[in-house]
């Protein structure tokens, strides 16, 4: 069973690091320089170049200083799970996920 949280080490959000990413489906987290999560996202079936394309867009927008990814074909349910875990851990969604607060998000007590 995979861990509920995305616990991989943060990677600096740079051209070089983004270029190394595969064009896979999956989820990602963006953080500021202190490691605070600023947005959770996913690379879905309509993403051009998968995770690499999504992170390239985040880099171009200057959204974050660091990132981490997880390749998964269950990107939608994993994305929901990461949002729920963030809410359980910090009481709210990351600032960049404001749009997700419009819909009903599940409650999780991950323990």
């Amino acid at each position: 069973m995979a861990g509920v949280r995305l616990d991989k080490p943060w990677i600096p959000l740079t051209d070089e690091n983004v270029a190394r990413l595969a064009g896979e489906l999956g989820v990602y987290q963006l953080a500021d320089s202190e490691g605070r999560i600023v947005r959770i996202g996913y690379a879905g079936g309509r993403s051009l170049f998968g995770l690499r394309g999504e992170l390239r867009a985040a880099l171009a927008a200057g959204e974050a200083a660091r990132f981490r990814t997880e390749v998964t074909s269950q990107y939608l349910s994993r994305y929901e799970e990461l949002l729920m875990v963030h809410k359980a851990d910090f009481g709210d969604l990351p600032a960049g996920n404001e749009a997700d607060s419009r819909r009903r998000l599940g409650r999780l007590s991950p323990g």
Partner: protein
């Protein structure tokens, strides 16, 4: 027996078919290929349309505000509403509503006020908590979650798994063992509020479906008032069983709708795609696959409509519903598999819906009772006995 649609049924089916093609497929084209829901404003617009059509709330008895639609017509509609990419598990993204937890129609007046009516108005959501880590196909024995009477309350301890929607629900119907000495008679059904102390959604259970997940639940001394017993103490098995039988017909119909859509795409593609200088449709290998698809579709459609007709006449239909579920889920799985073969490399891409149907159709052979349990149900009737 005549499976020709009445004039009214044909009109309704045509209306629903147009709705799927013009509204659902158009919206779906903009979504992620694995998406299972729409933006709230799109959802509200579609619900307003189905209300206008007089078809909102399928499965809700007319006395509770549902449309005057018999089960055969409902089955025909279900064969239409699943004919899109997300249609197998999210037919028309829920625009036609549904009965939700149908067991609540049997609730007492107080329970109806607190749970059923708010659910029908869309103000509350519920979940169905039956399956446990110890099993789901044999609830009479597999249920290990215990409820112990304590004054005016029951104290529940245990766990549930693969439960849909528990994390977003306001309450749930939970089955627990109240008498260890009895098998079927020792299971009771409780209505549990989601804010009950001791009720936890422990984790998301990821599956072959990406746009949907199950959850694992834990009950730690969760205290539920006796007033929240649904039905009678010890009567939970009948409630669970009733739902399983009732669900099998629309469940089968959903599979058939996807198979019909996949087959239509196969025929279109085979006519236009050429190999070695001729259309695929002229190749015997392809023709036979398409013919086998049609046999699977018609066989399961007839069986499902036969079960619906029997239910409409008020006759026992448990074995027929089991046969329909088995034929439709297995037949439609073969149809989708052949559709991928006919479409070649495109068949496995997310540009087409087949790969999603392929993953989700695999679950259909397990959900609502696996094929083996359907065979047990039929065998019981053939031998006129309880085998286990």
């Amino acid at each position: 027996m005549d499976f020709e649609m009445t004039e009214e049924q044909a009109l309704i089916v045509e209306q629903v078919r147009r709705f799927v093609r013009e509204e659902i497929v158009t919206l779906e084209a903009k979504l992620d290929p694995d998406a299972s829901r729409l933006e709230p404003e799109d959802q509200a617009r579609l619900v307003a349309m189905t209300r206008e059509m007089g078809l909102y709330g399928l499965g809700i008895p007319p006395e509770f505000g549902g449309p005057e639609i018999d089960i055969v017509t409902h089955t025909l509609i279900a064969m239409e509403t699943s004919q899109h990419r997300a249609g197998l598990y999210s037919p028309c993204f829920g625009a036609f509503g549904g009965a939700g937890l149908a067991q609540l129609f049997e609730a007492n007046d107080l329970q109806k006020e607190r749970y059923l009516f708010p659910m029908l108005r869309g103000e509350k959501r519920g979940f169905f908590g039956l399956t446990e880590p110890s099993g789901g196909s044999d609830p009479a024995r597999a249920i290990r979650t215990k409820a112990v009477r304590d004054g005016d309350d029951w104290v529940i301890n245990g766990s549930k798994i693969f439960i849909s929607g528990a994390d977003v629900a306001d309450f749930g119907i939970v089955f627990a063992r109240t008498d260890a000495s009895k098998g079927r008679g020792g299971v009771t059904c409780f209505i549990v509020d989601a804010d009950t102390p001791g009720f936890h959604v422990r984790r998301v259970v990821h599956t072959l479906r990406s746009g949907h997940y199950g959850t694992e639940l834990q009950f730690e001394d969760a205290r539920v008032p006796d007033a929240n017993v649904l039905g009678k103490v010890g009567g939970g098995f009948a409630i669970a069983n009733d739902r399983l039988t009732r669900q099998r017909i629309p469940y089968a119909a959903g599979c058939i709708g996807v198979a019909i859509k996949a087959q239509a795409m196969c025929v279109d593609y085979a006519k236009q795609r050429e190999t070695f200088g001729a259309a695929l449709s002229t190749r015997q290998a392809i023709q036979w696959m398409v013919v086998d698809n049609e046999i699977d579709i018609r066989t399961s459609r007839w069986a499902t409509l036969a079960a619906a007709c029997k239910a409409a006449r008020g006759e026992p239909y448990r074995a027929e519903a089991a046969m329909a579920k088995l034929l439709a889920s297995e037949g439609a799985s073969r149809v989708v598999d052949r559709a991928i073969q006919i479409h070649g490399g495109y068949g496995v891409t997310k540009d087409f819906p087949f790969e999603r149907w392929y993953r989700e159709m695999r679950i259909r052979r397990i959900g609502e009772g696996p094929s083996e349990v359907q065979r047990i149900v039929m065998a019981r009737e053939l031998f006129d006995q309880a085998l286990y």
